[in-house]
């Protein structure tokens, strides 16, 4: 006997939650307990009184499972609302990466030139290294990191995706 898996689509969810202790564990645990998958998860307070957090989750699942994910998240007591941004319409996704590159001579110049093309900023420099800050969609950052691999990549820190719906209305 072999175990088969369903075909998955990638969706970005915005989960607006009460900022209470354990909420992140509750959400992450729900995903593991029910066998859902998390590609990326970011969380931050988004109101002045620090009472509400916005969690952005990128997940891959079949349409039926996605419906369940949204419903299961929505019934958690501290959750205000859940938006499937991918399903609801056009939205902007951005990620920030810090990319450390070591190099001297030509490699150094090449790294700076590529950074310029990708609109990456230098946020730290020594005579033998740079740290670049780059923001953009997943593909852009993937590509930038890949290119840096050829000119002396040391390490990468990425925030994971944050996303927001286009237009004037709140999600």
């Amino acid at each position: 006997m072999h175990i088969s898996e369903e075909k998955a689509e990638r969706h970005t969810l915005a989960v607006i939650v009460d900022n209470e202790p354990g909420i992140l564990a509750r959400i992450a645990g729900l995903f593991t307990a029910r066998g859902y998958n998390i590609e990326s998860l970011t969380v931050s307070e988004v109101t002045a009184d620090k009472a509400v957090s916005r969690i952005t989750i990128v997940t891959s699942a079949s349409p039926a499972t996605l419906e369940q994910i949204v419903a299961q998240l929505d019934r958690l007591v501290p959750v205000h609302r859940v938006h499937d941004l991918t399903a609801e319409g056009p939205h902007v996704e951005r990620e920030l990466a810090l990319v450390k590159v070591r190099g001297t001579g030509d490699h150094r110049i090449e790294a700076l030139r590529l950074a310029d093309v990708y609109r990456a900023r230098v946020v730290d420099a020594t005579t033998s290294s740079f740290v670049f800050e780059v923001t953009g969609g997943i593909e852009k950052i993937d590509k930038f990191v890949e290119l840096m691999g050829e000119v002396g990549l040391i390490e990468v820190a990425r925030t994971g995706i944050v996303a927001i719906a286009r237009g004037k209305d709140a999600a």
């Binding site: 006997m1 009460d18 354990g22 369940q68 958690l76 007591v77 501290p78 959750v79």
Partner: protein, 581 residues
Amino acid sequence: MTEKSGADILVEALCDLGVEVVFGYPGGAVLPIYDALFRSGRIKHILVRHEQAATHAAEGYARSTGKPGVVLVTSGPGATNAVTGITDALMDSIPMVVITGQVPTTLIGSDAFQEADTVGITRHCTKHNYLVKDPARLGPVIHEAFHIATSGRPGPVVVDIPKNVQVATAKYQKPGPIQHKTYRPALKADRAAIEQVVDMLAAAERPVLYTGGGIINAGPAASQLLQELARITGAPVTSTLMGLGAYPASGPAWLGMLGMHGTYEANMAMNQADLVVAIGSRFDDRVTGRLDAFSPNSRKVHIDIDRSSINKTVRIDLAIVADAGHAMEDMVRVWKARQHPKPDTSGWWQRIAEWRAKKCLAFPESTNEIMPQRAIRALWEATHARSPIITTEVGQHQMWAAQHFGFDLPNKWLTSGGLGTMGYGLPAAIGAQLGNPRALVIDIAGEASIQMNIQELATATQYRLPVKVFILNNEYMGMVRQWQELTYESRYSESYSDALPDFVKLAEAYGWKGIRIETPDQLEAGIADMLAHDGPVMVDCMVAKLANCFPMIPSGAAHTEMILQANEVSGTMDDEAKALV
């Protein structure tokens, strides 16, 4: 306003919430609360013999009264022992509030004596949980916990209270009605959806009402509405294990339970229906059998208070997120306002009559052995006039009780459906008896399950609770043995109940009356003896050892592939079927 200790705030809040009974077990981290209970004297505390039993007793109390069950246990092992019952309450949607002691906030995270990460451990087996670090928050949290446990889809809520929070002082004031920031369960259905389901019921030729525990949770009025709905629409009614009693087993529209050990007529009706209206039921795998063959030609309406139940396993044509009682009330009102005539479902009922003629619950009788099904029927004969509350453990006896004991009223059938917890029945009977002092409460048990919480015999003795335990003793974990016969060519791996105690002597040792029934001719008299005794009684009823529970839909099979009798069993299954639970 003077300040009170956290422990006093807790007890006062429980009193304000109308709590009459708490099931618990003391320990170091709840000593301040136990002292507050002692000084207050306003709440009856039932001392169980194991924390798991406290949770099942609270479930039994809740299920039989409609009120939330309340549990009080200490930190560490007190809390971890309660986890099984908390999970059970989550699976079966039972309103329950569990207060757990915790080590002082200053010691949390230090691996202190009897420390466990209770909120971490219970995060996914509760509807919600809290760690209260400030005594001023304690009152509001307790009130909120009861609100969450009892509203919407009911469930267990854990409130973890560190010992120093029980001792520290704060002000407490009874809060007004709770308006929660984020938690607002919908009760009333969308009007258009109600109109639509009424249209569908009026047009259906082969409708079935597929009902579940949600109707019981919606209160006794919902059961009345279900009868009304069945009467005016002419639709037959089937129910899940958890929903038994919502529609009377003696009622004209009753098909019997559906699913794995349901009746032939109920499962065939689901298979052949053109409209299935699910009310407070959740298309559980024990009900649907093989999903791609489940009710293949029907349109499906799902009425449920929990949106996540909808489209979870079966695709729905019309979803109605609402309380079962409210939704049925609206359906009945719209139906009557439109003056719909009762649809002609006589052709449908004719087919149902043909399926009923199979007499799927018939079983081979014996003159020298007690058939377990016969024992259940004898118990029903002797007691049904008193509308007894029946609890069960888990296994063959549970399914036989569901099949052969007819329930005519809600809140009379207490069983562990979702989690399937052996050891549920005796503590649940104790809880039910406390909530219904004058009722006849019987735990229909198996000799294996009963041993999982046997220590609770002492609890019944201490509080003079006249509960009855009726053991169908076949010296096997019968359901395990049955599956081994079906799937593993009768290799009885560890399913024999060896080294059984003498249940009569055991009962007597705990101050109970013990009765043994060994032959068919002793059955009626033994039951009469049990009923005649006004204290707790344990009956050890020796039944046919190898009897199996039929009809049965094997795991992974369709409703039409029911095994009706033991001689239809093959003894092996392919790997796909073996992998299913």
